[in-house]
């Protein structure tokens, strides 16, 4: 019993982390139709920048906020310089983000080297929270789950309860008509891109605290984001949540029972979904 509760909590933790990264990815895709292959690089960049800020100021929270802001700015710059010039050419946009990811990944390796970094979050986050049956669970992992819930709720409110959210939804539906109605769609796109990138940066700090930061994490989280949104449905927030949950559970239960094929399992899950519903479980047809 204890074992299964632990496994489920672990699956939730991983799913939360995947959701944090994939939600921004999905958001960007939903409105801009851009597959941002640099999303993993944004995650890693956020983790390192957050680490620097946190160790310089001594505040983990500042690191978290700083990383989100810094990566949002980098996202802004990337959108303005690289993506916008390509107009609506989705394929070339995807390609240019691959190039950007390669460059950022290499610069990070050059600057931070191959060693592993780990945050020292406030002592209170780093201990164990007592819980019934399973005795206790690492607090930082509960923080991961909590942040995902907060971010998910925040995004939901933003999209469904605010004017900006209406704009985003309308932009996803029909960009041309929205601009013909007098809205500067480019500004909305930019905002969403920055928001999505910032979420990746935020996830970098949270992921870097729960796990660790090292080269290669960029590709890992890009892939997980891809799988999550392919399963859940591109551009759908609920889809990202569902996809993240499925992958989280498949991965952790797989790791416990068939460790050798755990990762393969998640990818096969994806191929199966694709064969039946190419647009993803909650994607629009």
């Amino acid at each position: 019993m204890r074992f299964y509760i632990l496994l489920s909590l672990n699956a939730l933790t991983v799913a939360s982390l995947y959701f944090l990264v994939a939600s921004g990815f999905s958001l960007i895709f939903g409105l801009l139709r851009t597959v941002n292959m640099a999303h993993g690089a944004f995650y890693l960049l956020g983790a390192y920048v957050g680490y620097d800020i946190a160790s310089y100021t001594g505040s983990w929270l500042l690191g978290l906020v700083g990383a989100a802001v810094a990566v949002a700015l980098v996202g802004l710059a990337m959108h303005l310089t690289l993506l916008r010039t390509l107009g609506g050419d989705e394929l070339r946009q995807a390609l240019v983000t691959i190039g950007f990811a390669i460059v950022v990944g290499d610069l990070l390796l050059a600057h931070y080297g191959g060693i592993t970094y780990q945050f020292t979050p406030p002592e209170i986050l780093y201990g164990t929270t007592p819980m019934p049956v399973i005795r206790g669970y690492p607090t930082i992992r509960l923080v991961v789950i909590g942040s995902a819930l907060l971010v998910g709720l925040g995004l939901w409110l933003l999209i469904h309860r605010t004017k900006v959210g209406m704009l985003i939804r309308a932009g996803v539906d029909d960009r041309d008509i929205l601009s013909a109605m007098g809205f500067n769609v480019q500004r909305v796109l930019l905002l969403v891109f920055a928001l999505g990138a910032g979420l990746a940066g935020l996830a970098g700090v949270i992921g870097g605290s729960a796990l660790s930061i090292s080269p290669g994490e960029d590709a890992r989280f890009l892939l997980s984001s891809l799988v999550v949104v392919i399963i859940g449905g591109m551009g759908s927030l609920a889809g990202a949540a569902l996809g993240a949950l499925l992958i989280g559970f498949a991965e952790q239960f797989g790791l416990a029972f068939i460790p050798n094929y755990a990762t393969l399992l998640t990818f096969l899950l994806m191929v199966a979904v694709l064969a039946v519903r190419p647009q993803g479980l909650l994607g629009r047809g």
Partner: protein, 237 residues
Amino acid sequence: MESTNALVVSGLEVRRGALPVLHGVELRLDGPSLAILGRNGAGKTTLCSALIGLLPAGRGSIRFNGVELAGRKPHDIAGQGVSIVPQGRRVFPSLTVDEHLRLMQGRRPGPWTVERVYAVFPRLAERRRNFGNQLSGGEQQMLAIGRALLTNPRLLILDEPSEGLAPKIVDHLLEVLGGLHRDGTSVLIVEQNLRVGTSAAERVAIMSGGQIALVTSSRELWEDEGLQQRYLGVSAH
């Protein structure tokens, strides 16, 4: 306030991709309304897209009340008081009726408010919580018109508004459009349906092969079967 707007299009050439569609369109609207009639493929929808900036004008000019619109971005053109009810309505599937209207409210000052739209289209008020993709064709058309009116336009462009609608609804729409000039809004209506086009406006421009072939009064066109046959391939009688 009577409508005193002037739209002057001259020498307009527009391409769709590599394909030239408009070959020097000359058009003038001053007064409350103008209908553009033409067969399928005459370039009517392309003209609409160019007027609101969704397709770039290759050559020529589009002046609205003395302001050059060619080369401007769609949102900028909208800011000049030009709004559109697009072909196929194109309401936002993931916004509710109410959200459509609230989103538009207060963009430009003018007489239109959400409440007034609801008053004009009581059906919309009943369905205010429904999403765009849950509406019937007629309801979608009311919403698209309401959405456009909330920008308080000085020029309202309607692209095939009668398409697929029951005659009763069309009549209701025509009635609403007929009253717009009292708020200072001119109407440019693009139609395939001769009856709708001629009832909506006093003057008619006939489009053919990417050009304006003829401008005449609605009454004249309605009565001249030869004209109808020649340009529209239809006959009203």
